[in-house]
């Protein structure tokens, strides 16, 4: 059972918080929690240790302060004292007021930058780093509790089901990042989704298209023949909102296309139709 992960997904921060408390009091060990925004009180609920990054920032500031003092003392007093407007050029302390601005700026510079670098390193954030949130919706409106070590799956399920959950995913091995806005997330290489044509008609509407993607490389899009205003489109459900005067008719059309997409993908999988011909099957009536 150890290679199984359980993802308890919530659609509200308050539900998540009470679920975390419930799970922890029931003895479930939580690996991680992914949220779209900082949830107030979550670190206490998870018993996270307070971060020491502010202490680090203080130390970096002290380093900056020292560096600035040493540098200015060397440059202005030791290496090449100059007579500037008769100011006391042979004594650091007497010249200090004029050095305060730069000393202050360097203190802030060191504290700010080194702290941010520390944060990026500790939280492993850098360009080309791959994101690790198990489902993409956790940056939108879903909250996910990741549980990786448990003995009795049934018992765990019953505990999670006592909370106000939205969904439970059980994942074998490492979680795979799923693509959003795609109708089907199965292991088949082809994905099909709805997009809008980038050009708008003069009245502001645009053509709804179907985009076919194979693997990473090949992609094309075909018009569905449906032309609507973007504001009526719900990209999460792939339907037209009820505000559209003809929403029933269009949604029926879409229903037909969606079912054809599913069967079309099956046919592609079994090799009946090729990727380039997929649109003929889906869009020809």
């Amino acid at each position: 059972m150890s290679n199984k992960h359980v993802h308890a997904i919530y659609d509200d921060d308050d539900k998540l918080l009470s679920a975390v408390k419930h799970l922890r009091s029931s003895g479930v060990s939580i690996k991680d929690v992914f949220t779209p925004f900082p949830v107030h009180g979550l670190d206490h609920a998870l018993d996270l240790k307070p971060t020491r990054i502010a202490i680090a920032a203080f130390i970096y500031g002290c380093i900056g302060l020292t560096t600035a003092i040493l540098m200015i003392n060397y440059i202005m007093i030791v290496d090449w004292p100059q007579n500037i407007g008769g100011k006391p050029s042979f004594s650091f302390m007497e010249n200090l007021p004029a050095f305060v601005p730069v000393i202050f700026e360097l203190t802030v510079f060191f504290a700010g930058h080194l702290m941010v670098i520390t944060f990026y390193m500790r939280s492993s954030l850098w360009p080309f780093k791959k994101a690790e949130n198990p489902i993409p919706e956790t940056t939108d409106d879903k909250f996910l509790i990741q549980i990786t070590s448990f003995k009795d799956q049934k018992k765990l399920m019953s505990i999670i089901k006592q909370t106000d959950y939205h969904n439970i995913d059980i994942i074998e091995h490492q979680p795979v990042v799923a693509e959003p806005n795609k109708l089907v997330n199965e292991s088949s290489q082809v994905s099909v989704g709805f997009v809008f044509h980038s050009r708008k008609y003069s009245d502001g509407s645009s053509n709804l298209r179907i985009q076919f993607t194979k693997g990473r490389g090949s992609q094309y899009a075909k018009n569905t023949g449906i032309r609507i205003f973007r504001k009526y489109w719900s990209s999460s459900k792939n339907v037209v909102s009820t505000k559209h005067p003809e929403h029933e008719k269009i949604n029926k059309q879409l229903e037909n296309i969606k079912s054809k997409i599913i069967t079309g993908k099956e046919k592609f999988k079994s090799g009946v139709i090729s990727f380039d011909r997929l649109h003929n099957y889906i869009l020809d009536n």
């Binding site: 929690v33 009180g41 949130n133 919706e137 999460s236």
Partner: protein
């Protein structure tokens, strides 16, 4: 619901019955959609101005500073005026995100992202002017402390111009990392929604692999708080140091101890005015009226009114102290400002900066979007004149009457200034199409306390 309580007297900061998902959709819409005609028109104009500015810069550098209208009496004019003007505008962003964070002002969340963007873009414009004025910009690296084997002495740490180098570069880079750190969760949101492979790749790159773990958020909040604590004295120090460029000199009209607080207030004043100008347009174009509400505009107007009044106080104090000091030169400098050949610039400054913000005492006017927009432009014109008045009127009457001159800008002076305006808008327009312009992760944290639907729900519950 108890933990999300907010006093009913506070107006909602997010309107339109938003859910968390709706916020995501609204913030991602300008990025995922395509640009309209107006965007391309404004972008085209800005790009043209920018190109014209580059032409003028090339002309200046290849021919020399003599192409400007400077003369031996007025050795500083539009270049430093524009520099101080742009730096001043760059003060609102970090003030909004840092000072208002320390004061726990929730209304900053709708506007901080764009204000910070504006800060960074305008500090870039500001930095151009000293570099061009060097005449040999390829030697600009001489302003950093490097040993004298390069053929020159060490830089002079007694000089306010060197303090400026440290202040501006610290301000620019710290603001940049502050901005970018706040952007990571929002870039991650765009990344996780992206359907086009190229878009996904780009937003993966810029979001630094942000995943939103509980521990990451804990650090994120701490870093934001400490950066705000560092940036608050920083933002005050920057314009203080800019004012030292003048205040530490012995020119009558510049040699005043009131300059640091007066410049900082002026910077906040002009910065907020620019934020107002940009956001009034942006909320309309990007359909963000639910996040940048009338309440936000009203609060910004109040800041403009207060800082404008502080600036007005400083103007009057300057006049009083000039008279009270008994120093003839000081008295003449201020008399000459108000009644000399540059009287029109002085009174333009007075009208725009002191009188016009006083209209904001009236609720009807400060809640009018058109009026706010007009005043915000007027304030920015006034703040440009303030710098021009301080710099040129103090210089043009030298101690020797034989050196008395006037300053008139050449087409190159004007061209470079317009070029920086173009460059600024090019950057801002590109930003508004590719960046999440609202700090959506932060707005989501206040939705339950300050969203109109949640506030209404609580009110009904209480009754």
């Amino acid at each position: 619901m108890g933990s999300h309580y907010e006093a009913p007297i506070r107006k909602p900061l997010v309107t339109g019955n938003k859910s968390y998902h709706q916020i995501t959709v609204d913030v991602a819409r300008p990025i995922e959609g395509s640009a309209n005609k107006q965007w391309w028109i404004v972008f085209g104009i800005s790009l043209t101005l920018f190109m014209w500015g580059i032409g003028c810069i090339i002309y200046t550098v290849s021919t020399g500073i003599g192409t400007w209208g400077l003369n031996k009496t007025v050795g500083w004019a539009w270049d430093i005026t524009n520099f101080v003007w742009w730096v001043g505008i760059g003060h609102a962003g970090t003030l909004i995100s840092a000072v208002l964070l320390l004061f726990r002002q929730k209304w900053r969340m709708g506007i901080n992202r764009s204000a910070e963007a504006m800060t960074i873009f305008s500090v870039i414009q500001a930095g151009l002017f000293p570099v061009i004025h060097m005449g040999r910009p390829w030697l600009a690296y001489w302003i950093v402390p490097i040993p004298n084997t390069f053929g020159s002495l060490w830089v002079n740490f007694n000089s306010p111009l060197l303090w400026d180098v440290f202040a501006i570069s610290t301000y620019l880079t710290v603001s940049l990392v502050f901005w970018w750190t706040g952007l990571l969760p929002d870039f991650a949101m765009i990344r996780d929604r992206a359907v086009k492979p190229f878009q996904k790749k780009i937003y993966s790159l810029v979001s630094f692999g942000w995943s939103g773990r509980a521990k990451d958020w804990q650090r994120f909040e701490e870093v934001s708080l400490v950066l705000a604590g560092l940036a608050t004295p920083l933002v005050l120090s920057v314009h203080t140091i800019v004012s030292f460029d003048f205040a530490t000199s012995v020119i009558p009209g510049w040699h005043t101890t009131i300059f640091p607080p007066y410049f900082v207030a002026g910077a906040i004043f002009s910065g907020f005015a620019m934020v107002q100008t940009l956001l009034i347009v942006m909320r309309k174009v990007c359909n963000l009226e639910d996040y940048i509400t009338l309440q936000h505009i009203e609060l910004m107007n109040i800041v403009i009114m207060i800082t404008g009044s502080i600036v007005g106080c400083a103007y009057i104090t300057e006049l009083f102290i000039a008279w009270y000091s008994g120093v003839e030169y000081e008295q003449y400098a201020f008399l000459n400002r108000a009644t000399g050949p540059y009287w029109w610039a002085y009174w333009a400054m007075m009208t725009c900066n002191v009188f016009s913000p006083q209209f904001m005492w009236f609720k009807k006017l400060r809640t009018s979007i058109t009026f706010s927009f007009v005043i915000s432009i007027v304030v920015n014109i006034g703040m440009w004149f303030e710098r021009f008045v301080i710099i040129v009127t103090s210089l043009h009457r030298d101690y020797l009457p034989s050196s008395w001159t006037m300053f008139s800008p050449t087409f190159v002076d004007i061209g470079i200034f317009l070029g920086t305006i173009g460059f600024f808008f090019v950057l801002f327009l590109l930003y508004s199409r590719t960046f999440p312009v609202i700090a959506q992760a932060e707005v989501k944290t206040i939705l339950k306390s300050s969203g109109d639907n949640y506030k209404k729900m609580r009110d009904n519950h209480v009754k």
